[in-house]
Amino acid sequence: MIVGKQKSIDEVWAMIQGYKKVLVFGCNTCVAVCHAGGNKEAEVMASMLRMKAKQENVDIDIQDSGIERQCEHEFFESVTERIEWADAIVSMACGIGVQFTAEKFSTKPLMPGINTTFLGATEKPGVWTEKCQACGNCILGMTAGICPIARCAKRLMNGPCGGSTKGKCEISKDLDCAWQLIIDRLTALNRLNEYETLIPIKDWSTDRAGGPRKVVREDVMV
C-alpha cells in the first residue's frame, strides 16, 4: 500500500491562511491503514486546526469529510456538495489522491495534508517499511523475493557493498542491509550458488527515468 505521514499542524495551518471555509478531506484506504490520512485522521486534523484558529483568534470555518478512495471517480459523487461548499481543501490522501481531486475540481485550491512517503507494508502496529519503488520491471525473481531497488540504499543489483556490517546497512544501524536479507533467504532456500549469477544492467526506461508512465488495457475499458 501507499504509506504516508501527516504534515505538522503548523505547516497545514500556514497553507490555509486567507481562506474562510476549509474542508479537511480524508481518504479511507491506504493512508487510513497507516493512520495518516483516513477519514478519522481528517476529523482529528480538522479539530486541531479549529483549536489553532481559536488560539490565534482567526475567523475560519473548518469542516471535515472523506471518501473511500480519492483516486477513483466513483467515490466522489456523495461529497460534491461538501467540496463545493469549501473555498479550499486540505486533502489527506497520498499525492495521487490530492492530484486526482484537484483535476476533478479545477477551480478549487487544494493543499496536501500528508507527505506521501513510500510503497510499503505494515511490519507491526506502528511500523511501516518501504518495499517497492514501482520500477516497472520486477526483478524479485532474481533476488530471492527481496527488492534491492527499494531496500538497498544504493539500489545495487549485485550487492552487498563493502559497508554492510552485521546485517545492517552502512547508512544506519536501524536499517537491514537488503543484500544480507537476500543472502539469508538464498541460504534458507538452499540456493546460495545463485548469488554468483550476475544481474544484468537494468533497463530503467520502465522506471521514473522513462518519463510518466501509463497503463492502457483495452480489454477492461467500458
Partner: protein, 309 residues
C-alpha cells in the same frame, strides 16, 4: 597472465614482481598544486597512483582531471570511478575522456553513500553498480562497443580493477563476491585496509581454494595509523572496517608522540607478513593525508627500488 593493455601496473604484475600502488585524494578547491606535490613525493616509490573519486561523498576536484595532471607529469594514474554520481552516459564518456589522455588503469566502485558527505540531501544515481561498470569497461575495451552496442572508434585500453573488502559482512559471501567481480571482468583487486591479518589470511585461503588467486592480481590494502585515536575511530565508526583490539591496545600503550611511528611499524610488519601469503601480488598503500610516509614504508618494507618495465 598475458598483458592486454599498455598499463605499467599490469606489466609489473604480469612479470611476477610485487606491485606497489598508493592513492591520493584531490583537494577541495581548484588548485592542482596538492596533487602535483603528492605525486612528486611518491612517484619513485610506487608503480601507480589511484586518484579517489569524491571519496566519502565529499565534493572535491574530479578524479579524471587529477589523473590527467599525473599523466602529464609522466606518472601512472589509476582512475577511480564510482557509480554514485554518474549515469551510464557520463561513465562511458569519462572513460573515453580518460582514454584520450592514455590513462591505462581504472578502478570500478559503487562509492560510499552520499549521506556521509557534504551533500547529504543530494540524489544518488546508481544507474549501474560496480560489477556492471566492470562489464562495461571490459566490453568497451575488448569488443570496442558501447553499452548500446555501437562501435567505439579507438576503444579505451584500460587495465580494469575492483575493490574487495574481505572484512565486510556476511563473511561467507566475501569469496563468492570476489569470484563474481572476476566474472564481471576485474583483472586486479585492491583490498580494503587490512588490520586483522588472521581474517585476511583465512579469506586468502578460501580465495586459493577456488583458484581465484590465479585469475586476478590481488593487492593487499594498507593504511598506516597515525594515532590510537584514529585506530579507535576506524574500529568504531568506519563501516566495513575490522580493527582488532590488539592494534588499538598497541597504539594506546605507546606514548602519544611515538604513536605515529608505531603506526608505521605496524604497517611494515603487516607487509612483511603479507608477503608470505600466496596470492598476494602487491600492496596498495593508502596513507590518508600522510603521503609523505609512503617512501619510508616502501623502503623499510624492502619494496624499493621499484622495477623498471
Amino acid at each position: 597472465m598475458n598483458v592486454k593493455t599498455p598499463s605499467k601496473l599490469e606489466k609489473i604484475l604480469a612479470s611476477g614482481q610485487l606491485a606497489v600502488t598508493s592513492e591520493c585524494g584531490p583537494p577541495r578547491g581548484s588548485d592542482p598544486e596538492g596533487i602535483i606535490k603528492k605525486g612528486t613525493m611518491i612517484k619513485e616509490y610506487v608503480d601507480a597512483i589511484n586518484i579517489t573519486d569524491n571519496q566519502t561523498s565529499v565534493t572535491r576536484l574530479c578524479s579524471l582531471a587529477s589523473c590527467i595532471r599525473l599523466k602529464l607529469m609522466g606518472l601512472e594514474p589509476v582512475l577511480q570511478m564510482v557509480t554514485r554520481d554518474r549515469n551510464r552516459i557520463a561513465l562511458q564518456s569519462d572513460i573515453l575522456g580518460a582514454a584520450s589522455f592514455d590513462i591505462f588503469n581504472i578502478l570500478c566502485l559503487s562509492g560510499d553513500h552520499q549521506s556521509f558527505g557534504d551533500c547529504a540531501t543530494g540524489q544518488n544515481v546508481h544507474d549501474l553498480d560496480s560489477m556492471q561498470l566492470l562489464q562495461v569497461v571490459r566490453r568497451m575495451r575488448d569488443e570496442g562497443k558501447f553499452i548500446g552496442g555501437e562501435e567505439i572508434k579507438r576503444p579505451p585500453r584500460m587495465f580494469v580493477g575492483a575493490a574487495a573488502n574481505p572484512f565486510a559482512d556476511p563473511f561467507e559471501i566475501r569469496v563468492p563476491r570476489l569470484a563474481k567481480k572476476i566474472a564481471a571482468g576485474a583483472e586486479f583487486i585492491q583490498t580494503q585496509c587490512i588490520y586483522n591479518l588472521d581474517r585476511f589470511e583465512e579469506w586468502m585461503k578460501r580465495v586459493r581454494d577456488r583458484g581465484l588467486h590465479e585469475k586476478v592480481y590481488i593487492l593487499a590494502g594498507l593504511t598506516p595509523m597515525k594515532s590510537a585515536g584514529m585506530a579507535k575511530y576506524m574500529k568504531n565508526r568506519v563501516p566495513g572496517m575490522d580493527v582488532p583490539d590488539e592494534v588499538v591496545k598497541r597504539l594506546s600503550g605507546t606514548p602519544k608522540d611515538k604513536q605515529a611511528d608505531e603506526g608505521i611499524n605496524i604497517c611494515i610488519e603487516s607487509i612483511e607478513r603479507l608477503k608470505q601469503v600466496e596470492g598476494v601480488r602487491g600492496f596498495h598503500i593508502m596513507a590518508i593525508e600522510w603521503e609523505e610516509k609512503v617512501p619510508e614504508i616502501v623502503q623499510r618494507a624492502g619494496l624499493y627500488p621499484r622495477p623498471v618495465v
